[in-house]
């Protein structure tokens, strides 16, 4: 989102708060369904805005659950990503209802069962953000903020990134994103792309055990990624989604069953590769991407975290933050 429109979006937010525009989770479901069927439902994620329109019956309630603290909006000053999820036509819809994602003029995915409209929306939105949002270097990373500094968790799928991101968010860190470390290289700060944290398979129960009252949305079984559920961002994260964060630390997580905790520094040379080659748009950005990653590696240090127990990892990150990140000069 251009800077001027970002300011305008923040102003719209403030106006919505002043006029009492409801959070999506507390809005009248009829109003949400009408928005989806009509002008579209706007979601201001921080660094990007998104509009979704849909006639899929299951989507409205699911969005109200996992975007519960985002303001209900039907008219945003700027839309970066425009998605439609419509029920598939044809005879098969009577046998097996399907929903189809349209992102602008393309259908990037095969239709999904209608009951799994939310996972399709989430994957489609992430896919479009990765394709379109080149005002930021998009690291594939969980991103959180504390003390004005960002903790980035870059990782390959299966490393436990989302579980750790969710757990930190539930322990008071401000969630910026579960999927994108969005580095605004012009502003020199990380910005939020605030969507729900996508938890898969065993990690859903791990988070339930950690925080029985965690705001989880519906559980979707047998999706293409297994069982999926989404953790909603809390009110503080939504309210502050236009606030940036300076680089604090990069932690490369790796969950291993039964592993003892290890937290070791990563050389800057290796950290460069971990950031650049796992970024969604590094190659698209060319020399700008190279310069952006170099600046990040020079601004904050990296560590490699291997963990078997989530509580151990959380305690280790807390110590790291207090003793290595906040205590570091500059």
């Amino acid at each position: 989102m251009p800077a001027a429109e970002r300011g305008e979006a923040a102003a719209v937010d403030a106006a919505a708060a002043a006029t009492g525009a409801p959070a999506l989770g507390r809005a009248d479901p009829r109003q949400v369904r009408a928005a989806l069927r009509g002008p579209g439902l706007g979601l201001d994620l921080g660094a990007a805005t998104l509009r979704v329109r849909s006639d899929a019956p299951a989507l409205a309630a699911a969005l109200q659950s996992v975007y519960r603290e985002h303001p209900l909006a039907t008219a945003l000053p700027w839309v970066d990503i425009d998605l439609r999820l419509d029920r598939a036509r044809g005879l098969r819809r009577w046998l097996r209802p399907l929903v189809r994602l349209r992102a602008e003029a393309a259908h990037p995915f095969e239709p999904f069962p209608a009951a799994t409209a939310l996972p399709l929306f989430e994957w489609g939105a992430n896919w479009m953000i990765g394709l379109r949002l080149h005002e930021c270097l998009l690291l594939h990373a969980g991103a959180l903020e504390r003390d004005g500094r960002a903790l980035l968790l870059p990782a390959l799928p299966g490393a436990g990134k989302s579980t750790l991101t969710a757990a930190l968010a539930l322990r008071g860190w401000r969630l910026l994103s579960d999927e994108f470390g969005a580095w605004d290289y012009r502003a020199g700060q990380f910005t939020a792309l605030l969507k729900p944290v996508a938890l898969k398979n065993e990690s859903i129960d791990v988070i339930r055990r950690l925080a029985p009252a965690a705001p989880l949305g519906p559980v979707f079984e047998k999706t293409r990624k297994g069982t999926v559920a989404h953790l909603a961002a809390d009110a503080q994260a939504v309210r502050r989604r236009h606030e940036g964060a300076l680089p604090g630390a990069f932690v490369l997580p790796q969950w291993q069953a039964g592993a003892a905790l290890q937290l070791e520094p990563v050389d800057a040379h290796a950290l460069f590769g971990a950031l650049a080659f796992n970024a969604f748009n590094y190659r698209v950005l060319g020399a700008t991407g190279f310069d952006a990653v170099v600046s990040l590696v020079q601004a904050a240090r990296g560590w490699r975290l291997v963990y078997g127990e989530l509580d151990d990892a959380l305690a280790a990150l807390d110590r790291l933050w207090r003793h290595e990140v906040l205590a570091a000069p500059g």
């Binding site: 050389d267 800057a268 040379h269 290796a270 950290l271 460069f272 590769g273 650049a276 080659f277 590094y282 190659r283 060319g286 020399a287 190279f290 310069d291 170099v294 590696v297 020079q298």
Partner: protein, 116 residues
């Protein structure tokens, strides 16, 4: 041993160690390229290829000569490296030649003319 590592892969020079006509041509740092020391190594961005590479010290030294001192022949680069390292240019030449074509392929250096 001169080597170039690209996106985690080590590339080896194909064919003879000495690139044809390398000592007859002047070479320049490719416009838009980047070279940066990070921790224990070097990273570079090839302006002509759009590729990112990990470099060892020897490759980075060649690039630094061309970036900081302008276009030069292979022999002139070897002489500059020799002046820095204390080794004889003839001792450096085989190792420098081994990776030269890889730097060209990576878009980090380019031939600018075939003068002396």
């Amino acid at each position: 041993m001169l080597g170039v590592v690209r996106d985690g892969r080590t590339l080896s020079a194909a064919g003879p160690a000495h690139p044809p006509d390398v000592d007859q041509t002047r070479w320049a740092w490719a416009a838009g390229s980047r070279l940066q020391a990070l921790g224990e190594g070097w990273v570079a961005y090839g302006g002509a290829s759009g590729e990112t590479l990990y470099l060892n010290d020897e490759s980075a030294a060649i690039l630094e000569v061309l970036r900081d001192e302008g276009a030069a022949s292979f022999d002139a680069v070897c002489r500059a490296l020799a002046a820095d390292s204390g080794l004889a240019p003839e001792e450096l030449a085989p190792a420098a030649a081994e990776g030269w074509s890889l730097l060209v392929e990576a878009g980090l250096i380019r031939a600018v003319d075939a003068g002396g």
